[in-house]
Structure formats: structure tokens, C-alpha cells
Symmetry: D2
Subunit: 369 residues, 4 copies
């Protein structure tokens, strides 16, 4: 309840500052009996790791994860899984200029007003580096969802004016392009666009889409804990996200009911489905068996190398030129963060939902008895 | 934790079905000592009440609120405030056709998959009627925020293709127009547009904007409980919302950092502020002292009077023509719901934030000692 | 989180003051599909109802419960169950003397220090009347546990110096004796003892024991949410409870390990059990399949008719003689409250535990798929 | 919500197994601005550390704590404080015999029934070693409470039949005697008694008392989150605790109201106090300004070196002789755990209580504005 935890039955707590000794997560409530090793997590962290390409920050972090608890004989035991990632490439001296200054577009000012103290090195707790801990925990949730047949895939949908062409969708490209776009041509254009931004000491925004396939109908809750409400919180809690949409999103503003409704039908397997998926797989807060389609808008990196107007801690106006190593676009590295936040949210909702029917509780405990 | 509660220190629990005897809310954790009477709440409920105009459902509910606890000598006592609103105009027979049928665009199917049983009368728990309970609780939060100098105002931003003209903004119109638009001309056009939809047995979507003025900097939490993350959950938990944006929202996708950053400055009162407000008053999850600007997209009413394709509980395809009394557009009545959800979220974050600094705790308890 | 809610997945929120219009509870997260009518609840409320006997307060409350939501066609729907009990016999004038005075042994002073305002009529929110709402909610949990084969039985173990003789245990007597003792002889002696206390304008304490049979091994959590820790909180949250014990309780202080350990064995059905049950059915916070045995000590009613020393709201010393209608002993009416708090705690732990094994989640959702 | 976290606004999550690489805690919600270094924590851990005396396990752990986050320039920043304690003296081979066997008096069987897998080395997650993490977090809460003038002192009240004599109370002895008794003579007798138990390959129980001085009136909540209810949960969540009492505890069973009530009076400073403190400083769940007096009973160490009857994972009866290094009595090392759990509970309740009065919220935010 103190703001660094997320989830109800499956609960993740993250900790750590950008330039402290480490960041980490404790994943509590994860079910016992799943095989888990560090490599399962590492491959997700590697997708988020900085320093991989010409359009990313040159800060090079190994981001090696250590599992400190919750595993025995290679399997989860149902006890909290503690995950540790050492910070190895912190150049704190880059931040000396920021000691007394609030960076525009960053949390610095609000944080200082709230707490009266702040770790100005790299944004401290408000740094995007905190999301490494989310990815470590979310990777574990993704592994379990994969075993259940639930597949989560996020990708860059746009960077600045460059949009992917859905006709060219190639999933493998998500993991190999510099932009995490699933479209080679869009990736090429986006890299060019980003390079131009960098040359102008500027940054760009973009958007991410996430599709969750294989989720059964009936996941989520009907009122405050709607599945889309929890997903919206999960994604909006990623620093740079300024908009979250489900299904058709803002297009519903000008839609008519006769078009926006997804008519139910029986598919060739005799199963209930719908003819369209405008709703994005969630109706009234509960999954309907369709793909969940969720999107989010990511603002441009606030750390730019142009001189900016700002103020300092004694409320004087100042000019500020940011140094250090910063991504010109946040989107590509945020893709895996979006995936992982969705995974944590979905698995928590599935676990919470197991006791919705009295019959199921009876059957469950009769087996134990 | 069971899905019908919202908030951490200030916690609201709602209950009730559309066609049961009543709906209600319990607001727990509200501070002691504020004057409160039923009229304070009633005026908010009246803004949500159906049956006020030609473009709204003819279902006429008095929506009279009873306060059952938490008040003594006209003041709040710090104990839970129980609020009861009787359902007086339920025509359950309108729903007999729906007994075995899932309505497209509604929660019916997912709810049935989850629980194995559903109150098909008017959507039961998934009905928009549940939001009356939110408004009753949120009205109390709004009163307190008003005393604190925090002013929350929501209004219809668009209905179908009709957008308000910000140059014509007149706050009083929000409370008097049929559309809750603050622009007389847009209201007129929107009413015409809605009438056309009704003639076509169709419905339309739209959007709502909410502005929160007077909130100090420093409210919200830096990680999962970001103020915008909690607001996003609050708004996405309103049934028909499909998109939530903060500040510039999806416009950030094509923005550059040099434009999107809001440069800090010292205003004429010597106070820190910013030259622009692209961020919508929240940076890194914490308020920066600017107006909070939050928007949401509302889908068209799914209950339309055209024949629709659907399936039933034994998985047969069926034709369905919905009867009953339904709004052709959800937006105008949802405006006050958006305000109230924002009020509950903001006040909870303010209350939670009081213990952020050790000095403040010391000062607080020294006074008690 | 605001203090009037209990439980994680199965969550009860109570509201209401002793002399307000009503008290009530919202039970959220209860599973769908169980048959439920008001009589299921009423029979538990009747066990708690005042005015039944010569040793109980003459305040006569009907304590008729109304179910306002969560039921459809006679079955629970998985949505919150709202329960309302009107206060019909409040004599508020009895409390005028207490307007400015703090009653010794009551919450009055602390409540006033915390909130700066208090409903002095009958203790307001701190009244034992609040437990009627707990019983209403707990009755529903008890019904479900009964269907599962889990049987909860509480009874008066002692009143003042009078202890029950376990050799004379007769369960039916719990529901028929004035003292809720399962031993006719002890009941007779206790009634005499209480009558003597009443003649002396005094009150007496006592103790309650609760036994939970049929609970499978494996319920509870290993660290903070130990089953006994949650039960201890549940019972200590009943106003007059001053001690909670599990199994041998304080006798372990002088026990040796060789005696206190319960050796495991295989019973005649080939099932794991233990030769003794010193631990009271819970080891390391998790049930071991034995009877859960939990006890609590209840203080004497603080409202006595002798003159007492006290102070008032302006910090002056005062003499106080309490009027009104008060039980000379709290124990008999608290028995059903103890049962109900145990039921809520146990069912919540069972529901929470369903997702402990990854295999079970897989099996559960494969059936849905 | 997943069982390894405790607290509402001040929230501690522990993780780690007895024979894993480390144990640790994340303390979230701790206020910003308090000076904190590792030595502040180490001195509490040293009080819990094994291997200090002839009556304690020869397992020698350094129990050196590392602070991994939440501190900047020697002060807390309001962000989560991550605490790491490496396990350095784990002799896992001692536990090979237990691979398939359930130890009597331990969580082994219930844990296995719940999770289907268990780390049998030293009890894994259910080991008393988990409490090192609680002490690390609680030490931080104790430092802050000390600054506020709230003093928490726990001590051994009894071991087996040996009780302390309150007339001989010497606080310093708590930190220097092998038994943590504040009475030199009782300590001497207790050490002799323990030695005799060890010679018999047996163990003994005992009791701990904790007194909290300087807490203002008005802390705690009136219903489920009563201060004593939360303390009871906090203490009962310590593995070996089987009874928790507040104030007179089980003595109230035979007390009369005229004696048990604590009459209010005005003390020489003109402040409200009471003539006696039977209630233990808490009435109706809220502190009354008196010392909080809480006691708990600790069972004898279940790991004894005598041969015991048990069963194995394939439900066969077995003889078991436990090896390894085990304390003959848990009490002395649990004293600091009790203190720390009380500190975490009290500080959380103080922080939560700051928003109880509307006036205080107004005053608080006007200062910010």
C-alpha cells in the first residue's frame, strides 16, 4: 500500500535507485512448482538493456539478474522470489549540475515537494531504470502464462510520424530491429528519423501496442478491478506513458453502437466468439475470449541536450544543459516493460478469479480432502 | 481486494444491482469533522439522474440518497459513511428476452463465464446504475476538496463528430445543457446529432475532459501508485471508457522533447510554475502544481434498438432486439461520474501523502502530545 | 485499508453506529452459486440478539436482516452482498449524561483524541452493536463452510470462576442455555454467579473457545499471514477480547519440547494425523488437518451501575453513574461473534490458497478452456 | 496480499530461506529525511544473532546487513529501503535426513500439503531465520519511534517455571544476560534450567513481555484494525507464539468490571490519565496514552535431539532423530523480534492516523500551499 507494490494475490514490490548499488524486485504469491532459472529472466532483461544500438543510450549495463530466494531444486516453492540486479555503469558525476536544478519533463520538482529530499543522480527512484526490476518479475509471470497457452506480444507501433504497416507484420523483427518494430521498412525509416532527432539534440515520442492471445473468457472483475482498469493502471505507471487505450480506444468517440458492438457468433469449433473485436477483448471489465489489444502513447525522452529554462531548489530561474547518456526515444526499450506489466496484471487476475464460483472451491478442496 | 472497493486510506466499496432493491456505497476512512448532509450528495446525484431530457433514457429514478451512518450532529465522525439509494423504477420484465441471451457490447458473456450465473435484468451488477453509488461517495470527497481549494470540473468534450470550441467555454452550461457541454453551440449541434442517431435506432460515443485546479505539487507516488496511474484505473473502471489520456495524451506520440517538456519558471508571485502544461499537471506520477488535465473516450451505448446477432447460454446463434429504456449516448450522464472518481482518487492520494516526510510526522504528533 | 474492512479475497466491510438508523455489512468476493436466503443469516443473528434472558440487557432489538444485493433467483451471484439491520430500540436519552464524559473501560477517550468528535450515544461506532454486522456476514461464510464439511463451533468456556466440565460437553446446550455453555451444571452455577454480580451493580469476565473441524491441511500462509495470526487479529478485533490463544496457549510457557511436539502417525484410514494436538491444528501458520482450537478471554462489561471516577472533555474530574441497558457479562452473546469471525478468516484463507500450486492453476483454466 | 508483507502505509515485505543465499526485507513507505546507517540496524540484528552464548545454537551467522536502496546522503528518501543479509553459515547437509520426513512441531507437513514442494533445509521459508529480516526492518521503525519519544522495550518474562521478579527489574540486563531477562537472579536460574533441558536433549518454552512508553492517545482504529488486533497479528505471526495478551490478558476472565475498569483522573500536569492500567494502554482498539503492555507465550523449540515418531512424504511412519544446531529455547532471541514487530505496527498506525481529522488535512496542505 506504500506505492512500490503492484498486484493482489500475485504481488510485486520493486526497490532501488538509478545510481544506488542495485535495483530489485520481490515477487510474492507466485505459485509453487514451476521450473525457473536465471536465464528465463535474463532473456527478457536483455531486450530492455541499454547500449545495444546506435539509437540507444551508450550507458552499458550488464543487467545480470540474481535469484536470491523462492527457488529450490530448480523449481518455484511458492515463497517470495527475490531478484537482484546490480548497477554497474553509474556515472554519477554526470549529474552534479542537477544537484539543485529541476529537469523539465522529469519528476524532480514534484518529488522534492513531496519528500523534501531527492537523489538527483539519474532521477533516483523515478528513473526508468526502476523498470528493469519490473521486467525481471514480469518475465517470471510471462513464463507461466506461456505454459498456460497465453501469449503476450508487444511491439513498437509508431515512432514520431512513422507507423508500422500491419500488412508487413513479422513477429521476429520485434526482437531484432533497433526500434522493436515488427516491420523492416518502418524500422529503417524510424532509425533515420531518430538519427535526425539526435542531430538536433532532440528526442521523439511514439507508441506501443500489446496483444494478449489465448486468454480464456471470464478473467477480470466487474467493478473497480476491471481487467482493463488494472491494465490501464499497470501501463500508466510506466513513467513516460501518457495515454492508454483498449481495443478501438479513442476511435469509439465517433463510432456508432451498430458498428462498435461486436456481434457474437459460434465459430467452426462450436465455440462462442465475435465477428469483430472493437472492444479489444474486454467487456465490462471481464475478458471475452478474444485477443486483448491494448495500446499506449510514450512521450519523447525529457532529457535532451538543448539548453532549457528551469528553476532551482531556492526558486531561482536557471538555464540547464543536460549531460549524461540518454536514449533519444524511450519506446524500443519500453516494449518489454509493457509486456511484463501486462503479464503481471493478467496472471494476478487469473489467480484471483479461481474462487469466483462456489462449485470450483468445493471441487478444489474435495481433491485435497 | 475483492473488486468492489477502491482507494487505500480513503476507501469506497459499492454494492447493488440495477434491478435489485437498491444500490449503495460505504465510504470508509473519510476524515472527521466536515459538515455533511444529504443535500450535499443529492446535487451530484441529480446531475447523473436519468430522465431529465429528450436525449436520455426515459427511466425515471428519484435517486434519493439516505445517509445511514458516519454522521453525528451534522458532521462526519471518521467512521464509515453508508449511503443507500433505492431502485424505484426497475422494469425487469423488459429483460425477459435477455434471460438466455448475451447482449453484444455488454459484460453478459464474460460475467457468465466467470461466475456461472448472472442477474440478466438490466445488466445486474455490470449496469451503469452502479455508478450512482460512486457519485454519492465521490460527492463527499468533492465537498472536502472544495473546502481545501481543489476544484474539479468535468464536461463533455465531444459527442460523435461534434467538438466543443474552447473559445466558447462557459462553465455554467455544463450543469444546464442536455449534453453537459460547456459550449451552447456545440450542445445544439450535438443534440441534433443524437436525435438523428435515435431515429436510426443507433447510439453514439464521445469524450469527457476533467480539469483539477488548485492541487498542490507533491501529490502522488513515484512508482506503481503514480497519481496518473491511479486516475487511469479510476476512469477506465467506468464501464464504457476505452481510452484515458493525461495532458497531451496521444499527441505525445509525434511530439519532440524540446516541445513536450514544460520549462519551469518563477511566476509573478515568486512561485515555481511552468510555461506550458503538456504533461497535464503530473510528472513521474506526482503533481507539479499545474492543473491536472485528464481525458477519456466513451464508447457508444451498446444497447441499441436494431436487431443484432448474438448467441445464447447453450451456445446457439440468435437474433436479438433489445427493449427497455436506454440512453442513446452515455457521455452526458458520465460527466459527473468522471468528476467523482477523480475526487476519490485525489483525496486518497492527499491523505496517503501526509506521512511522506519524517518532519511532518514529528510536528503532527508533538501537537497531539 | 481504512479500518472497517477485513479479509483479502473475501472481504467484509461493516458500517453503522449503535444509535444511528442502522448497522450493516458488505461482503465482497463471496463465491457465486450458493443458495442463500435471509433465514440463513437470521438464525445466527438470533443467537447474538439481546433481550433473550434474565442475564442479558433488556434492550430488545429485532435484528431483522435485509439482503439488499448479491442474490439472484435465491443464489449468490459473486457480487457484493449488502446486509442491512435497522436499529429499532435505541434509547439515546440514556446517554445524555455521557455527552461530555469519558466512560472508564470504554473507547470514548481514545476515540475523541483521535477524531476530535464522537457519537456518545451507546458508544457509537465502538459499540458492541457493530458485531451484529459481523455476524450477518459471518453467517454466510459459515453456511458455505458447512457445505464444504468444515464445522465451526464456539461456546462459553468460563464465566468468572465457573468453568465448564469437558466430560459433560453437550453441543445442543450451547444454543439453549443462557450462558452458551455446553454444560448444564456449569450454566446453572454461572447464572447464579452473574445474578450476584448484577445485585452488586457489577459485571464479570469469562472466556470462549472455538473449535474448527474438518479443515484440510495446507490452509494458511507461512509468514505474516499465518492462519493463527489472522485468527488472532480477527478475535482481538472483537471489542472486549484481551487474550487470544491457539492450542495449548499459555501452557506452552512451561512445556518441554518432548511433550509439546505432536508426533505424526498414520491413522486407520491410512491418513497422516498426529497423536496429540497441542499445537491446536496450526503449525508454522498452516493448518495440519487437526481440529483448530482457539480461545479468547473476554473482559467484564465496562458499563457498570456503580459510581465511577472519570474526566470530561474539558479535562475536569467527574463522578459518573452509567444508566441504560447493559449486559452484566459479554461472553454469551460474543460466542456467535467468535464463530463468525473465525468463519470469515478461514474461508478467506481457503479462497486465497487455491492458487498456491502452479499445477492447480493449469488444471483450473484448462477446464475453462 | 500474498502473505509476505505486513503493514498498510508502512509496509514491510520479507523474503528468503534459511539455507538460500540470503534473507532480506523491503521497507516501503518509510518517511523521508531520517538519518540512517547500517549500524543503526546492525545493533538490533546483533541482539538476535545466534551463537552468542552457551544456551544458544552454535550456528554462527555474522548477520551483516547491507542497505541497497532508499538512502541518499545518509538520509532516508521516502523510497523503499532494501535490506540484504547473506546466509554464511548454512550446513545444509545436516538436513539430508529430513528430505522425506516431516519434523513434529514444525511447518513441514502443512507447507508440503499447501505447495507440493518444500525446501527441507532448515525449514526453508518457515525457518526462524526469516525473522532476521523483520528485525532489520523493525530496527528502522524503532529508530524513528525513538526520535518521536516512543520507547519500546521487550524482555524475557519467564523461561519454563522461572519468572522474573519485577521488583528486581534492571533494563540494562536485557541486553547483557544470556536469557534477555531484566533480573540477574532469574537469569541465573533460567540458565541452569536450560542447561538441564539440554542435557535431557529437550527444550523449553517461556514468555516475553513488551512495553511501549510515550505513545500518545488516539493511535489505532475502532473496528477491525484495532491497535491491539494488529499487534496480536504481528506477534502471532512470529513462528513459535501460541498466545498473545494485552494488559491483564487472561486475568480478565475472572475479574469484575469494578476492578477491571481503569478510572480516569487528571494527573499533576493537568493531563488525562488513569489510576490503573488493566487495559494495557488500549481501549476499543485505540491507545489511551498509558503504556502499552503486551505479552506472548513462546512454545519450546520443536527441534529436539530425542528420537521422535513421524511420517514421511509417502505416508509411512518413521523414527526421526534431528541433527543440526538448534536453540534449546527460542525466547531470548525472539525478544528483539517482538520489539521490532511492535515498532512496525505502531509506526504504521501512527502514519495511517494522520488523516483522521479534516482540520489536520487542511492545516497540513495549507502549509504546502
Amino acid at each position: 500500500m506504500a506505492g512500490s507494490s503492484f498486484g493482489r494475490i500475485l504481488n510485486v514490490t520493486t526497490w532501488g535507485e538509478s545510481h544506488g548499488p542495485a535495483v530489485g524486485a520481490v515477487l510474492d504469491g507466485f505459485p509453487a512448482g514451476m521450473e525457473l532459472c536465471e536465464q528465463d529472466i535474463q532473456k527478457f532483461l536483455d531486450r530492455r538493456r541499454p547500449g545495444r544500438s546506435s539509437i540507444s543510450t551508450p550507458r552499458k549495463e550488464d543487467d545480470k539478474v540474481e535469484i536470491l530466494s523462492g527457488i529450490f531444486d530448480g523449481k518455484t516453492t511458492g515463497t517470495p522470489i527475490s531478484l537482484l540486479i546490480r548497477n554497474t555503469s553509474a556515472h554519477s558525476s554526470d549529474y552534479d549540475d542537477l544537484k539543485e536544478c529541476f529537469r523539465p519533463g522529469h519528476a524532480d520538482f514534484g518529488f522534492y515537494e513531496k519528500y523534501g529530499i531527492r537523489d538527483y543522480r539519474g532521477g533516483g527512484r523515478s528513473s526508468g531504470r526502476e523498470t528493469a526490476a519490473r521486467v525481471a518479475a514480469g518475465a517470471i509471470a510471462q513464463k507461466f502464462l506461456g505454459i498456460m497457452g497465453v501469449d503476450i506480444v508487444a511491439y513498437t507501433r509508431s515512432i514520431g510520424p512513422i507507423q508500422i504497416d500491419r500488412a508487413c507484420f513479422d513477429r521476429q523483427l520485434i526482437y531484432t530491429t533497433q526500434t522493436a518494430m515488427p516491420d523492416a521498412n518502418a524500422d529503417k525509416q524510424a532509425v533515420e528519423f531518430i538519427s535526425k532527432c539526435m542531430a538536433e539534440k532532440d528526442s521523439t515520442g511514439g507508441s506501443i501496442e500489446c496483444v494478449i492471445k489465448g486468454l480464456p473468457a471470464g478473467i477480470g472483475d466487474p467493478v473497480f478491478d476491471k481487467l482493463d482498469a488494472r491494465l490501464a493502471m499497470a501501463l500508466m505507471s510506466i513513467g513516460a506513458v501518457k495515454d492508454v487505450s483498449i481495443g478501438d480506444g479513442s476511435l469509439v468517440e465517433t463510432a456508432k453502437g451498430s458498428v462498435n458492438n461486436d456481434p457474437f457468433m459460434i465459430n467452426e469449433d462450436g465455440v462462442v466468439t465475435t465477428k469483430t473485436n472493437h472492444c479489444g477483448g474486454i467487456l465490462g471489465g471481464i475478458s471475452d475470449g478474444n485477443d486483448i489489444v491494448i495500446g499506449c502513447s510514450i512521450k519523447p525522452t525529457p532529457s535532451i541536450f538543448q539548453e532549457q529554462d528551469t528553476v532551482d531548489e531556492v526558486w531561482q530561474e536557471r538555464k540547464l544543459t543536460i549531460k549524461g547518456r540518454h536514449d533519444p526515444v524511450i519506446v524500443p526499450r519500453a516494449v518489454v516493460v509493457v509486456e511484463c506489466m501486462c503479464a503481471l496484471t493478467i496472471l494476478d487476475s487469473m489467480m484471483t478469479g479461481m474462487s469466483a464460483k462456489s462449485d470450483n472451491i468445493l471441487k478444489f478442496y474435495k481433491k485435497i480432502l
